[in-house]
């Protein structure tokens, strides 16, 4: 039996919107840090910590589109995060400007491999890179020796996809200029997963050499969140359906939301590199990722424990791993056993030789 404290796993969730949620839950988290604990009698998923953290999300009040507008349309632009010690201990950080935006390069201080990763952070298209992303990348650097490129794309509503696409094209072209495409991996989470998949499909359409592998944590395949079934999962999710739709609307600008550069679910999936996608069954994005898995013809695995494996031999180049009861971007909550599991599987995927 293992016991775990709940408060630390809420970290990633709170970072999505620190200004409001941390104020709302500060007194509660104080009590949780003292009293909250969970009991797991085995190593099955979901863990008790996962379901308990989700109970916290269920308590969050819904927001309306008007409240989202009031929060974002006249805001101070979000600052970049402090670099956590976990990252500065293992990597040097160089910041350059490419096509008018910053690009961070995280180079391992030791045991660097030939692998390079272009990582596009999430945050609903409206929130900045945060320490949770950097801590997770530090872990990935430690385990794989990968050099990571993090483009600091302009956030909505101040910026739109129309500015991000040429910027990310320039960043990717620079990676191609520096080395072979088969040493490149592309990854992203949530809105970053949406951008990453859309960009890889865009690079395919441009005829560029493609990265050897692509991993996506809970990507948003359809920026309109149009599937009616999504609403059924809204009460289970720390995100709010009205909020994500509004954020997607900001990011779209003047483009049709069905354009594959915004909603890859409406694109074609021929000739893509192997995709590794993870999603929780208790998040709204489960619905569109299940549709994406079907469109890809991917192998699908409900990850019930650490020993769950994909079919062998695999039918598809693509894999979609569904974590039961898991909330959105749970991989950033490092105290969860599910987050450990997904990182272990990701490392295997990232370092795996190109078939």
């Amino acid at each position: 039996m293992t016991t775990t404290n709940v408060a630390s796993s809420t970290h990633a969730f709170l970072e999505d919107d620190v200004s409001t949620r941390s104020l709302l839950f500060a007194p509660l988290l104080l009590c949780l840090s003292v009293a909250g604990c969970t009991f797991d009698s085995d190593e099955q998923f979901p863990s008790a910590l996962m379901t308990t953290t989700r109970a916290l999300f269920a308590a969050v009040s819904d927001t309306t589109a008007a409240e989202i507008d009031a929060q974002y349309l006249d805001r101070a632009y979000p600052p970049l995060p402090e670099v956590p010690a976990a990252l500065s201990d293992v990597a040097t950080i160089d910041i350059e400007e490419v096509a008018g935006f910053s690009v961070w390069t995280l180079t391992p201080k030791a045991d660097a491999s030939a692998l390079r990763l272009l990582y596009i952070h999430g945050g609903g298209w409206v929130n900045e890179l945060d320490t949770g992303h950097l801590t997770m990348l530090a872990e990935l650097i430690t385990r794989t020796g990968v050099t990571v490129t993090v483009p600091i794309y302009g956030l909505a509503p101040e910026h739109t996809v129309a500015e991000a696409t040429p910027f990310l094209d320039a960043v990717y072209q620079r990676l191609l200029d520096e080395g072979a495409a088969d040493t490149i991996r592309v990854g992203g989470d949530s809105a970053g997963g949406n951008i990453a998949l859309a960009q890889v499909m865009h690079w395919r359409d441009l005829g560029l050499p493609l990265p050897a592998r692509v991993f996506l944590f809970a990507p948003a395949p359809d920026i309109a969140f149009a599937d009616p079934a999504i609403a059924a999962l809204d009460p289970f999710d720390g995100l709010d359906l009205d909020a994500v739709r509004q954020w997607g609307h900001y990011w779209s600008g003047d483009l049709d939301p069905r354009d594959p550069i915004l909603s890859p679910l409406h694109g074609t999936f021929d000739d893509l590199p192997p995709l590794f996608i993870t999603v929780g069954t208790a998040e709204m994005l489960f619905v569109d990722n299940r549709s994406l898995a079907a469109a890809l013809g991917a192998d699908v695995l409900l990850v019930e424990n650490a020993t769950s494996v994909l079919p062998s031999p695999r039918r598809s180049r693509h894999a979609v791993l569904m974590y039961p009861g898991a909330f959105h971007v749970f991989h950033l909550a490092r105290t969860l056993p599910e987050a450990d599991d997904v990182l272990r599987r990701l490392v295997e995927f990232v370092v795996e030789e190109t078939p």
């Binding site: 008790a48 996962m50 989700r54 916290l56 299940r290 009861g325």
Partner: protein, 225 residues
């Protein structure tokens, strides 16, 4: 000052400092010449604080909180109002073919008017009505093959209930208290259930009704009287 005056002054002083048991004693003075009976004051003020731990069900969710109480006491019977906050979270997961995991979170701010009765020898019992505001949320997941049944229940803000307790006073002046209690809470609750699978679209249902929760507690307190 006569013996009568002295005795009256002493009695008044004692009524402001004595413990509850002592305050209920009728003081009778005797002398060879006369017997004087002096009535105790009508009520004694009671003030106290508690540090509380408890476990919320459904959950189980361990929690902690603070409370303050104020009231009056006449003889063995006290009328008190307790103002408290209590919050916690927790969950449990078990194995088996159908893996089940559940978790809960609760936060309750409450005013509890109630009665307390001294049984003697430091023991007391009490009961009250909980007028609470806050929330509780409870999640349950059941995993069976490629299907996950997920349920979340969320209470309304108003959480009324009943409180019962038994306790003991101890320490040199009976100012420390140890109390075992339980709150039975009720609230309007919305329960969402969704069944998801790797191979079919989610199916969902919603039930709204009255939900119940139980919160056994253990408190250590201090009486200022």
């Amino acid at each position: 000052m006569t013996a009568q005056h002295f005795l009256l002054a002493f009695t008044l002083l004692a009524s402001t400092t004595a413990s509850a048991d002592e305050a209920t004693t009728t003081i009778t003075a005797t002398s060879p010449a006369m017997a004087v009976v002096v009535d105790e004051p009508a009520f004694a003020l009671r003030l106290g604080v508690d540090v509380t731990g408890g476990v919320f069900f459904p959950g189980p969710a361990p929690g902690a909180g603070l409370a303050a109480r104020i009231g009056v006491q006449r003889k063995r019977l006290g009328l008190l109002v307790e103002l408290g906050i209590l919050a916690g979270s927790g969950g449990i997961a078990g194995g088996g073919d159908d893996h089940t995991a559940s978790g809960a979170i609760f936060a309750l701010a409450s005013a509890t008017p109630g009665l307390q009765y001294d049984l003697g020898a430091g023991a007391f019992i009490g009961a009250g009505v909980v007028l609470g505001a806050g929330l509780w949320a409870h999640t349950t997941d059941v995993v069976d093959d490629d299907t996950v049944t997920q349920q979340v229940s969320k209470s309304a803000t108003f959480i009324p209930g009943l409180d019962a307790r038994v306790g003991w006073r101890f320490g040199e002046q009976h100012q420390l208290t140890l109390t075992v209690g339980a709150k039975a809470l009720a609230s309007a609750v919305r329960t969402d259930t969704v069944v998801v699978s790797t191979s079919a679209a989610p199916t969902a249902s919603v039930v709204e009704g009255i939900g119940w929760a139980v919160l056994p507690t253990l408190s250590i307190g201090y009486d200022f009287n």
